[in-house]
Symmetry: C4
Subunit: 270 residues, 4 copies
């Protein structure tokens, strides 16, 4: 039994870790498989290719689904705490990466959701030992987190504005000019405020164009708000991270210049 456990530990190391040669090879192979299978799904969706090579592409899809199913089962089996893995972010992504193929047997057309497999590629950061990249990602996330509440207030404000302007435009322009319902007019307001501007719906009356101008200038200006929020937080985090690492033993002050050897205030050696 110990020998069996030993073997299970070895598999665990290969699958979950990257510090051995076999572990790294496994992860590189895995990422290549993911990219290939996502590529196959994409190609399969192009009609011209589907007609000619659809048969082979379905084969590729099934091949990778079976491989990933075996990998998923093995991951659960060799993990000493399987439930922690199953309900982790990667565990859920791994499950969602194989379900669509099986689901497509019952409900046709769902296999396009296989592109969710792309999320598995996030493992690439681990493989390439890009710890600095993960650090940077965490850095961005912590700045986003610090501005979470401000951004919620901002989005609430934008959506309320879009709803009211949508209703106003529905009354002014009416169904004849493409504003066929309030929800559709709200869609127009969002298209306009975010400065996307498809042009599938656009105001035709003079007063409608005047109000649209107000909406555009508003949308154009309030983009300053999320940008300002995030930039200010990021600048704070950036300054804090660089400056707070050092502390003067003499006077206890922090906020020294990066690379300083003497305290800027009392002159003591750092």
């Amino acid at each position: 039994m110990t020998r069996f456990n030993d073997w299970r530990d070895q598999v665990f190391d290969i699958i979950y870790k990257t510090d051995t040669k076999a572990g790294k090879a496994f992860d590189v192979l895995l990422i290549l498989s993911i990219l290939l299978s996502v590529g196959a799904v994409m190609l399969d969706s192009i009609e011209r290719i589907n007609v000619r090579h659809g048969y082979w592409l379905t084969g590729v899809e099934w091949f990778f689904t079976i491989v990933f199913t075996i990998e998923y089962v093995t991951r659960i089996w060799v993990n000493p705490r399987p439930f922690k893995y199953i309900f982790s972010f990667y565990g859920l992504v791994d499950l969602l990466s194989i379900v669509p193929t099986y689901l497509a047997l019952m409900i046709p057309g769902t296999n396009e959701f296989l592109v969710i497999r792309l999320l598995r590629v996030l493992r690439i950061f681990r493989v390439l030992r890009l710890s600095t990249y993960i650090h940077q990602a965490n850095f961005l996330l912590s700045a986003l987190n610090a501005s979470r509440q401000k951004i919620t207030v901002f989005l609430f404000f934008v959506l309320t504005l879009a709803t009211i302007f949508g209703a106003v435009m529905y009354v002014i322009e009416g169904p004849d000019n493409g504003f066929t319902s309030i929800p559709k007019s709200i869609y127009w307001a969002i298209v306009t405020m975010t400065t996307v501007g498809y042009g599938d719906i656009s105001p035709h009356t003079s007063i409608g164009q005047a109000i649209a101008s107000v909406v555009m200038i508003m949308g154009y200006s309030i983009i300053a708000v999320p940008t300002g929020i995030f930039t200010a937080e990021l600048a704070n985090t950036l300054r804090g991270e660089k400056a707070l690492e050092l502390k003067c033993s003499g006077c206890g002050l922090r906020d020294h210049r990066v690379g300083a050897r003497y305290c800027y205030d009392c002159g003591a050696k750092l």
Copy 2:
């Protein structure tokens, strides 16, 4: 009479406050009613739904209008200072939330303005005790307020530019290419400067496209101005907030310069 006043006080507490169980329940019920009634107005505007269920949706609309009217009258009646409420932001929104239904009896088509009811949902911040959210909203507003004058100057500049470029394009492109009048050309200039770009009007002559390119690059670049203004103000406000954590032991003042050794106001050592 005292017992009657007592009863009025109790109703006041339920309607206006959220610290009792009944008061909180009232506010949650109110918000649900608002969302339901706004949803009904939206659905009513979709023709396919209006044809089938229009009768019921009009009923729902009238039901909520009557409920909100009773609520509005009660709010005035139980408030010891009714006029302060009537002319407050919430008082006006509450009034505007019931008027359109009655107005629609005389002028058809105005009931779409009922979506203004959505503004009543702003009360949600009070109900959920999201005082931090209100704090953040105030924070953003104070930064916006500090940059008010700069933004006025900026908007004046943008509108002058839009008018002049609009007139130039009207002369160059002319009515044959969709620039049928100066106001319409100004509308085009705003659509372009804000980078919305519907494409309902677009330049066709070579010289028109060259000038449009200048307008686009201008619009693309000057978005830096409101963003810069707001970010700089926000960073300032944010820094102020962080500086507030240090407190003088002598006079109790906060908001010292980072790295300060003496209180800026009483001169005591920090």
Copy 3:
């Protein structure tokens, strides 16, 4: 002769200054005239209005042109240094505000340029004694000025990129897909990079759409550059302006907190 000079001085005060009652009244009247005449030019350009009221609007236009001509001549006549006025910004704008009407007698269609009159409204800042607004405008201009060189480099870079991507798309998409020449393809590249996206020209081939995606993501990202430049400069100017006014008499340090009474570093009274 002295009495005549006296009279000329009085007219000078009324026209050029705003500190007397008559001077202020003159400027308010002037701004109203400008707005009215610009409004008339705009209305005249709308065909439906032109057909019905064109005769009257042409009269209004000529009336204001003659009034502004008299004003322009008077300005030169009462000014002790007329040439300084003629070649100043306001002098040139005043001249350009009357020329188009006369020019339209020879070259029809030029009178739309009368909207340049709008620039005269910039005088509004002087009339309303909005010195704070002028201060803010100067503030923004000084930050823009400080980042002038960086923005020149940026624009040079954007235009080079637009030219190269335009030529590449011309080769790939070709005249059949709307990319009829390199200049037109450069126009498309600018429309795309600035995220305006009219949709009058858009890629149809797969490889064209892939390259367009690169252009879009590039344009979307590099807007960070002018914004970053301007924000950083503005933050600097803002901080500098607030902090550099105060200097400690004891240790000579600047950069004190706004409103400080004691030096943060040596504790001396400021």
Copy 4:
């Protein structure tokens, strides 16, 4: 032989340097030639002009190609370290500037790539002795470089999001509404997230428009991320530059913290 080497040295000074009169004249002439030849390529691509003047423009193109070929060969010949030049940025650009004309003899249509010649104009910075501009460009590049990793993480995130939203919209909207394949849907997602919004493909179903709204608001908000990253880095770099003005009298180091009293490196009083 020495006299020959002398002559080669002189040619080297004229071609590669700008501090002599002849060297400056050569570079000005070179830039004019580049702009003329790029202009000729652009004009040649306009059909109306090509039909009438195509013969002459081809002549101009060949003339400049031969001139630039001679220049290129001379540059290699007079350079004491020719391989360093050949594989430098300018060396490669110079080669790419002449190849397309010769290539067009075998593969027609490639001569449009001659616009790559425009990159040669980058030499203008050297000619006009715009060392401040180069300084500013380096400044921007160093800030971009410092945020390289953060921007890589950001782009990876944006592309993953575009792929997943593209697949979702392909399933929801389907080929009938223009979403003919997953790659095309990804193209739509990028057009939408970057707020370009051509409108060549746009959602028609209600649920598709709802998801598109989410994509738009996302795209509109996350532009804050590259802007924030770059602004924060730029502000840091800028602050560093300003701090460089203070100089320690002991060790001569600059870059002290604003408000510092002691040198951070040698501890001497500032």
